[in-house]
Amino acid sequence: MYVAVKGGERAIDNAHAWLAEERRGDISVPELSVDQIREQMTLAVNRVMAEGSLYDPELAALAIKQSRGDLIEAIFLIRAYRTTLPRFGGSHPVDTAAMDCDRRVSATFKDAPGGQVLGPTFDYTHRLLDFQLAADGQVGEVQKTEPNTGETPHIMGFLDREGLIQTEPEGAEAPDDLTRSPLELPASRALRLQALTRGDEGFLLSMAYSTQRGYARNHAFVAELRIGTVAVEMDIPELGFTIDIGEITLTECETVNQFMGSKTEPPQFTRGYGLVFGMTERKAISMALVDRALRWKELGEDNLGAPAQDEEFVLYHADNIQATGFLEHIKLPHYVDFQSELELVRKLRRNVQAAGQDESKGPSGGSFSGKMKEGVGS
C-alpha cells in the first residue's frame, strides 16, 4: 500500500549490498582474480573488448568479474567507461597484411604463400567434457617450431590480380566515428562496419545464418580468416613523427561471394569483410556475411526484402547495450501510462456493453453483455 512505494533509497542500498555478496559467492571458495579471468577466460575477455569497443584486456577482465560473468553487463561497464576517456587522435589504419598470424586459414585455396596455419582452434576437437580438467588443468608439453617470419599476403590479392574480384575503392578520408556523431541513414560502409564490429555477436550470427538459409543468400566462401597481432601506429604532432603505441590482437575475415552480375556490374566475385578485436572468429565471419548482404544496393542487386539486407533494421538492432537497456526498462514503473490505459479500456468496455444491451432488446437477441463482466468496482 501507500508505504510500499516509499523507501526507494533504502531499497537500492540494500539491493546493492546483496548483489555484492552474491557476486562473491561462497567465501570458503577462493576469490577469482582479474589476472585469472584475463588469462583463462580469454575469449570472454575478447568478446567484451570487441563489443565494448575498448581494447583493454585488464579492464575487460575486471568488468567480467564485476558483472558476475554476465557478458552484456560487462560490455555495458566498458562502454560507460569508454565514453569518459579523452581522445588524443586517430591511429594510422592497421596493416593486417603485416599481421603476425597465430591462425590463418583459407577455404578457397589449398595452399598459398604464408601457408595454412591452424592455430589454437576448437575446430577439430571432439566436444567431450574433459573430466580431467575438473581435477587439474595442467597442460602437456607443446612442440615448438621456428616462427614464420615471411610475409603472409592476403589471399584476396591473388584474385584481385586476375581482375576476378570486385575492386574496392580506396577510402582516403578518415571515416565518421559512430561514437561521436549520430547514426544517420543511409550510412557509409565504414559506418556500417563500425556498427557491426561492436554489434552483438548473437544478433550478427543469426543474421548471417539467415542469409545462409536463403534470406538474401550470397554464397559466401571464407577466402581467408586470420588471427594475430598488428602494430598500432600514431602520428604525434609534438614529436613530428610516427610512433608505435602498442600491439593488438585482431580477427579478420574476408569472404568471397559468387556473383552472377547485375545491371551495372559484370559477373565477378564480390567481397564481405569482418574485422573484430581479439580472437573472435564466429563474430568476424558473421560480420563479413552481413556486410556482404548489406551491399546489395551498390552492387545493383535486387532487394529481396530479407532482414539482413535492410540496413536500418540491422544497424538499429545490432547494439546489445541499446537493446538490453530498452528491453529491460519495461521493469520500471509504468503506473501512470497503465492507469490511463485502464481508464480507456474501462470506457471502451462500457461502450461495448451499452451497445450490447441495445442489441439484446432487438429481435435478433444476440447479446454478449452476459459474457462481459465489469472488471473492478469502479
Binding site: V3, F326, H329, L332, Y335, V336, D337, Q339, E343, N351
Partner: protein, 289 residues
C-alpha cells in the same frame, strides 16, 4: 567524485548537446539528431534526459527528479543521486523550488515558471514510429509535413472504438508545424504542454533531442466532432482530496479494494500540509501508526 567532470559529461560533449538543444528550441517540435553518449545507466532508463540535464545544469541549480510524478520511485532516486554525486547540485522534492526538473511520464501539477526547465525522458521520440517503422521514411514525412497517416489512424480508432484509443503519448502539433510525441505522459497532461517553462526532450538510445520553447502553441490532434478530452480517474485523491490532479490507482487488499492518490507526490504532500484531507487519509494515518 573528482574523477569525472561536473555533471559527468566532458565539456565538449555538453557543448554538442547544448547546440542540439538550441537548434531544437529554434525549430519547436523538430527532432534534432545528436551524438548520444553511453551513460553509466542503461539506455531506456532516462539516458536522454540525463544527458540534457547534464548539459543544462549549473552549480547554482536546484534539481528535482520525478518518475510517474513521484520523487521516491527507485529510478528517480537513482538519477537524483547520480547528479548529487557527479555535479554536487542541491536537490529538492518541491516543484516550486526546483530550477531544473527531470521527469518521466508526467508534467507536475503545479504550473511551471519562466525560470524553470522541464527535462523529459523520451523512449521513442518519433510520433509516427508505430505507423511507419522506418526512420528514413518518417523523417521524410516530417520534412514534407505529411501527417495524413496519423489522421487516418485517429479516424480508424473512432470508427472502430467510437473514441480515439490513445491514452498516453498522445500526439501533438507544435506551433502549427511539427507533429511531436510528448513522451509517454497521460493525455491528461497534454494541455499543460503550453507553459511558461522551457521544455526539453531527450531520447538517448534514439539519439534525438527536441524542445518546446515557453508559450509555444501545442495542439493535441483531434477532429472537430471528436474534440480532444484529457481524462483521469473519476475520483478525488483519497489522501488530499484533490479533484484536479492525475491519480494513481492502488490495490489495497485481496478483495480488490482500491484507493486513489495523486501521482504527483509533491502536489499531494503540499496540499496535506496545507490542511486538505482526503476520504481515506485518517484511516491510513492509523495504519502507519
Amino acid at each position: 567524485m573528482t574523477d569525472y567532470n561536473f555533471a559527468y559529461l566532458d565539456e565538449q560533449t555538453k557543448r554538442m548537446i547544448r547546440r542540439a538543444i538550441l537548434k531544437g528550441l529554434a525549430i519547436p517540435g523538430y527532432q534534432v539528431p545528436f551524438a548520444s553518449r553511453e551513460m553509466p545507466m542503461p539506455y531506456g532508463w532516462g539516458t536522454g534526459g540525463v544527458q540534457v540535464s547534464a548539459a543544462v545544469l549549473t552549480p547554482e541549480d536546484r534539481f528535482k527528479v520525478i518518475d510517474q510524478g513521484a520523487d521516491d520511485t527507485t529510478n528517480a532516486v537513482s538519477i537524483r543521486r547520480f547528479f548529487e554525486k557527479t555535479a554536487g547540485v542541491a536537490v529538492t522534492e518541491a516543484t516550486a523550488e526546483a530550477s531544473v526538473i527531470q521527469t518521466r511520464h508526467r508534467i507536475p501539477e503545479l504550473p511551471l515558471r519562466e525560470d524553470q526547465i522541464l527535462v523529459y525522458q523520451v523512449p521513442i521520440p518519433e510520433p509516427l514510429r508505430f505507423l511507419e517503422p522506418s526512420e528514413v521514411e518518417t523523417r521524410k514525412m516530417h520534412s514534407l509535413e505529411e501527417y495524413g497517416l496519423m489522421h487516418v489512424k485517429l479516424y480508424e480508432d473512432i470508427s472502430q472504438h467510437g473514441t480515439i484509443a490513445t491514452a498516453y503519448a498522445y500526439p501533438v502539433k507544435v506551433e502549427g508545424r511539427y507533429v511531436m510525441d510528448p513522451s509517454p505522459i497521460p493525455k491528461f497532461d497534454n494541455p499543460k504542454l503550453e507553459m511558461a517553462g522551457v521544455q526539453l526532450f531527450g531520447a538517448g538510445r534514439e539519439q534525438r533531442i527536441y524542445a518546446v520553447p515557453p508559450y509555444t502553441q501545442v495542439v493535441s490532434l483531434d477532429f472537430d466532432d471528436y474534440p480532444f478530452a484529457p481524462t483521469k480517474a473519476d475520483h478525488a485523491c483519497d489522501l488530499c482530496g484533490a479533484t484536479d490532479s492525475y491519480l494513481d490507482e492502488l490495490i489495497m487488499d485481496d478483495a480488490g479494494g482500491r484507493m486513489f492518490m495523486c501521482s504527483d507526490t509533491d502536489y499531494c504532500g503540499t496540499r496535506r500540509v496545507a490542511g486538505h484531507v482526503g476520504a481515506q487519509a485518517a484511516a491510513l494515518a492509523e495504519d502507519a501508526a
